[in-house]
Every structure is written in structure tokens, then in C-alpha cells.
């Protein structure tokens, strides 16, 4: 009976979505807004090869700040929410192959993460992606070495300092540049080089560090709910 009701509701919901498909006609060309972003003179104002990065970090940088805030919030909430005595569990020891592979992979993964966020303005990727890769290195660590101490002070410090740098650079844009999050407070450099696009690579790197640290913190909190005997 309840299911029938839900089916009716979802069917109605589907019907409601139908006009959206009806009015959808695909795109033959870019929208006006996107056209602006893709025009040569405008690309040069930001000087980022990756247009998505230009939008994410500069044009719509405020969204990104909010996004970072959300991860920050999640980490903070989970930190005080899951605090408390942990329950015991017993683990089967990890296999030698897994441990060895982890030893090899973790540094490479971290490096790869760093690469991704540093090149965020040049190639696909960026702070969030890089941060996520770093966090997956951390999760691998957790799995391979469940007893290894987690440097949560270090990660907490990383999180705060990168957040502050992000806000600081953004505010600097408002103070000396032409607006909050203006990337031209640093030289724009040569199009396509690592040191280009003004403050974008700096901001994105710190976003990457921050995301990496935050996700690691979250993972650690989840892990710390249970401890090994």
C-alpha cells in the first residue's frame, strides 16, 4: 500500500521531469556566458589553460570557497560528533604482499595527488581531485598499517594553514586587486606554463592540501571509532 503510494508519487515526479526533456534541445553552440569565458581576450585575462579551473578558482571562486567550507565543516562536525570511547575489534593481520605494495604505492599516490593539483590550471584535475588522491593514499595507509599513529596535529595544521592562505589570497584580491578572489594579484605569466594564471595554481595547491587534509581527517575519525585490541 505504501509502496503503491510511493510509486504514484515517483511516477508523478517523473511526469514532472518530462517537460524538462521536452524543452531540452541540446546545444549547437556555447551559451552567451560560456562564450565570454572562451573568448581569447577573456582567456588572457585569467591566463589559465584549463577553462574549468579558471571558472572554479576565479570567476566562481566564491563557490569554491563555500565548497572548501563544506568539507571543513564536515570534518569539524565529525571530529566532535564521533569523539568518545572507541569499541574494540579484532583484525586479521594483513598479507605481506599488500603491506609491501602499500609501502611502494603510498608515496607515489601522494606525489600524483600533488601533481594533479599543481597542474590544475594546465590539465584536467585540480585541488579537489588532487586532494582526493592524497586521501586515498591515506586510506591505503589505514588499511595496510592499522596501528600506525595518525599525525592528526599535522593534518589539522595543514587544514588550517591552507584555509587561511586561501581566504587571505582571496581577501588580498579585494584589497589590492580588482575584487575578492582576483587572480591577477600575482603575475599572469606565460600562457600554458606552470607558473602562469596568477594566483590560481597557488590557490588550487592550497585547496588540494586542504582537501587532502580534511578528507584524511574525516577518514581518521571514522577509523578511530573502532580501535584494535
Amino acid at each position: 500500500m505504501r509502496k503503491l503510494f510511493i510509486i504514484i508519487i515517483l511516477a508523478a515526479f517523473g511526469l514532472m521531469l518530462y517537460p524538462l526533456i521536452q524543452s531540452f534541445s541540446g546545444n549547437d553552440h556555447l551559451s552567451e556566458l560560456a562564450t565570454y569565458y572562451a573568448q581569447k581576450e577573456n582567456i588572457e585575462k585569467v591566463n589559465s589553460v584549463n577553462l574549468v579551473t579558471a571558472i572554479v578558482v576565479t570567476y566562481r571562486g566564491l563557490d569554491t570557497l563555500g565548497e572548501v567550507t563544506i568539507l571543513f565543516l564536515t570534518a569539524a562536525i565529525i571530529a566532535f560528533f564521533l569523539k568518545g570511547p572507541s569499541t574494540l575489534r579484532t583484525l586479521r593481520p594483513n598479507s605481506e604482499i599488500f603491506i609491501t605494495a602499500a609501502r611502494v604505492l603510498v608515496p607515489i599516490m601522494v606525489m600524483f595527488g600533488v601533481y594533479i593539483f599543481m597542474n590544475g590550471h594546465l590539465s584536467p584535475g585540480g585541488g579537489f581531485q588532487g586532494g582526493a588522491v592524497i586521501a586515498s593514499a591515506v586510506i591505503l595507509m589505514f588499511l595496510a598499517f592499522p596501528d600506525a599513529p595518525f599525525q592528526h596535529k599535522f593534518f589539522g595544521f595543514m587544514e588550517s594553514i591552507s584555509g587561511l592562505v586561501f581566504v587571505g589570497l582571496a581577501a588580498l584580491g579585494a584589497l589590492i586587486g580588482s575584487g575578492f578572489l582576483d587572480n591577477t594579484i600575482l603575475p599572469l605569466g606565460t600562457f600554458g606554463k606552470l607558473l602562469s594564471a596568477g594566483a590560481i595554481p597557488v590557490i588550487y595547491s592550497f585547496v588540494g592540501l586542504k582537501v587532502g587534509a580534511e578528507l584524511s581527517n574525516i577518514l581518521n575519525e571514522f577509523k578511530s571509532v573502532q580501535s584494535d585490541k
Binding site: 515526479f13 556555447l30 573568448q39 577553462l51 574549468v52 571558472i55 563557490d63 564536515t74 585540480g126 571514522f222
Partner: protein, 118 residues
């Protein structure tokens, strides 16, 4: 193609809602929520597609002068990135809730958590 992906996106959204509304297990509800979110992301990306376009990253294939004619809309791509991260945060928090709820009543059935009502 874009119709197909848009429609699939909608179907995934509805599937996610179905999962949220019919599974009494809290973890399954959270998975449903993730599915719902994924559907949203598919829809967003579908809307960005421009016929014959490529990724909005300039390189040897797409020069700075011809970007306008060759790339897909970068805006929804930026938005979807934000949306994914938000979804991640929400899901993580929901999981933390699930852990706490389980700790409280040793149950993951949403029906066991009806202390507040009326």
C-alpha cells in the same frame, strides 16, 4: 546522445529517490541518496554538452583562438565539481550519523528511531 544521458540522469534520480523512500535500512537510504546525487551530476553534465565539442582545456588540439567553436560549456562542469564535493560532505556526515544511530539502538532500521513525533 545528450537526450540519452539526460534521460538516464533522470532515471537515476528517480531510482535514488525510490531507494531512499523504500529501504528501511539507514545505510541503504544513504546509498540511495548517493545515487540520487549521481543522477543530478549526470543531468548537469548532459546539459553542458555541445554537439561535437571537446573538453574545455586548451592544448594543441584546441587553440586559444578556436576555443569558442570547439569546446563544450565549461560552466556546468565547474558546477558539477562543486556539487560532487558537497555531495561527498553530506554523505560523509550522514554516515557519521548512521554510526551514532547504530551505536544508540544497535539497529539501522529507520523505524526504530521514532522517539520524536506528533
Amino acid at each position: 546522445m545528450e537526450y540519452v544521458s539526460l534521460t538516464i540522469g533522470f532515471i537515476v534520480i528517480i531510482a535514488g529517490l525510490w531507494a531512499i523512500m523504500t529501504n528501511r535500512n539507514i545505510l541503504r537510504m544513504i546509498i540511495g541518496f548517493s545515487i540520487f546525487d549521481t543522477g543530478l551530476h549526470i543531468v548537469i553534465v548532459s546539459l553542458a554538452y555541445v554537439k561535437g565539442g571537446t573538453a574545455p582545456i586548451l592544448d594543441s588540439a584546441v587553440g586559444i583562438n578556436e576555443a569558442i567553436d570547439k569546446i563544450v560549456d565549461p560552466v556546468p562542469q565547474a558546477l558539477v565539481l562543486t556539487a560532487i564535493v558537497i555531495g561527498l560532505g553530506v554523505t560523509a556526515l550522514m554516515l557519521a550519523y548512521a554510526m551514532k544511530l547504530h551505536k544508540e539502538k544497535k539497529s539501522l532500521d529507520i523505524m526504530s528511531f521514532r522517539d520524536l513525533k506528533w
